[in-house]
């Protein structure tokens, strides 16, 4: 085995990591389905496409139809889009806020750190869903965008805590001291010296936030506080339960949405393990 060049080392190991590749391919399949799926069906998610009501999967309705004759495949692919949007924006916002608070607290230290840390700990104890619930209940019109924003606004605490700890250990390193002595500003030090040295860690945080946001959204949708003007995988499951899909045996209504969430979130977790092995040489031999 030729020793890979330093620059491509991560890529070299990434392409040889089965967990990472498997997780990534599954996500890619669902992402593609979310992107091209709506073009594959003539029905809109809430169209009463099938006048006969519920029908099992067939050539015409790939995933069957709901109790009202809506096309499950159409709902599914639009729901997948919502899922990816929530993961990307909600998880992204959670990561950014976590970075902001974690970097400031960890790098500045002192009183500011004490305050931010206490605040983080307080928000960490409050069950996220309870807060989302009360906000969503008072919102008259809920869209996927507002859902993303509120999920992001409540998801950051553990990320902030983890990033703070990492920053803490990096800030006393020689190269950071050197930068400080040469008069580089704090913002520059954070973004040019500290952040690049924990890039892999930040990526892992983002992936976990992505998965967490998807699960939060599914919970919120299922309890009846999902978007009022769109479809999502959580809403599909709620409609299925409320309209007696279990009793009527319309399994094609509730199996696909849950399966997709499990597959996407599970793949994210597996990818995380794979990435960890890529970035951490100690784990590679395992």
């Amino acid at each position: 085995m030729n020793a890979p060049k330093k620059k491509n080392e991560a890529l070299y190991f990434a392409l040889r990591n089965k967990k990472l590749l498997a997780g990534f391919s599954i996500i890619l399949v669902f992402l593609l389905l979310a992107l091209v799926g709506p073009a594959l069906t003539p029905n809109e998610p809430f169209d009463y496409a099938n006048p006969l009501g519920p029908a099992a999967p067939s050539a015409q309705y790939w995933f069957g139809t709901t109790f009202f004759g809506e096309d499950v495949f159409s709902q599914f692919v639009y729901g997948l889009r919502a899922t990816f949007i929530v993961g990307l924006i909600g998880g992204g916002l959670g990561t950014l806020l976590g970075m902001l608070i974690g970097f400031i607290a960890g790098y500045r230290g002192g009183m500011l750190d004490e305050i931010l840390n206490a605040f983080t700990n307080i928000v960490l104890v409050i069950p996220t869903l309870a807060v989302l619930l009360i906000i969503a209940a008072y919102l008259e019109v809920r869209s996927i965008a507002t859902e993303c924003i509120f999920i992001g606004l409540t998801a950051w605490p553990w990320a902030a805590r983890a990033i703070r700890a990492q920053t803490f250990s990096l800030r006393t390193r020689d190269f950071v001291d050197l930068a400080r002595m040469s008069g580089v500003s704090s913002t520059k030090i954070i973004f040019q010296e500290i952040a690049p040295n924990m890039m892999s860690y930040l990526l892992l945080v983002f992936i976990l936030q992505f998965g967490g946001a998807i699960l939060s959204a599914a919970t919120l949708d299922f309890i009846g506080l999902g978007p009022t003007n769109a479809i999502s995988l959580g809403l599909m499951m709620q409609y299925a339960v409320l309209w007696g899909a279990l009793q009527l045996g319309i399994w094609w209504w509730f199996v696909p949405p849950g399966l997709a969430i499990t597959a996407i979130v599970g793949s994210l977790y597996i990818m995380n393990v794979g990435l960890d092995e890529v970035f951490n040489p100690k784990l590679r031999e395992m």
Partner: protein, 330 residues
Amino acid sequence: MRRYFGRKILIYLLTFFLAVTIDWLIPRFMPGNPVQNMLARVALHPEAAEALRSYFTKAFGLDVPLWQQYLNFWIALFHGDLGVSVYMFPTPVAEVLKRAVPYDLFLLIPSILLSWWAGNKFGAFAARSKWLDNTISPLSYILTATPYMWLGILLAWFFGIVLGWFPIAGAYSFSLRPSLTLAFIGSVFHHWFLPFASLFLVDFGGWAIGMRNMIIYELEADYSHYLAALGAPQKLIRKYAFNNAVLPQITGLALKLGVVVAGALVTEVVFSYPGIGYLLLAAIQNQDYFLIQGCFLFIIIGVLLANFLIDIAYVLVDPRTRRGMTGETA
């Protein structure tokens, strides 16, 4: 130890304060006028609407300054006054919640404790051999990625409808009245099993993964190698590693509590189990805002109390916190 608890209690009090403030703030400062909408949209008998209107003017006290409204909110809270439920008019919200809470505890406590215990055991077990690791770990990852309600739906459908082994609605058979008879207790457990199982399975996955990763780390630590070099039996080394790995798992339990409670809420919806989750769905569908706010407060209080219990457990398990040497930083 006093410092440790002092810090913890301060955090919890601040959290409670913040939660109540959110509870007060949101109805007043959300865009639009929720009070108006609530009164306009809620379809109920005129008697209830009138009571609601008078409650609103009193509770929201719109004619007094903001700071006084806030103060009144706290005073009402300490009198146990959470408003009147619209959905179950004229029962007070506190009363409605009090009836639901035992079901939540009955579902949550066994599922949390058993999944934590079993997850730790199996996670430690997985670290023993490649073969075990390759079976337990993937299964655990799948379980922990599963949305609670979906596993609940699948179990309800398969065991409740297809096989018909378990009922899938209510906390006990509708033909029975609560009593201390064998038939009634049997019925309670019969209805309890599936929601319990679905909560247990999802949580189990998370704990097993946590323990597996933690124990591998501990087995690679210097003290493990040192013990091995001294010729200590493998069993003893594993025992020490397990004891050390359990500590972060206890902290993890405190951190995951919110997620677990959320899981119980949706599971109750699936199984029409009359706990807070089921109430919450009804409250949302009936626009019963006081009930929603009451649920919010009850969930927060429950999670805070549980956190405190976990802190006590941590002190009992980890001697270092008792001697004030180190402590989990808040």
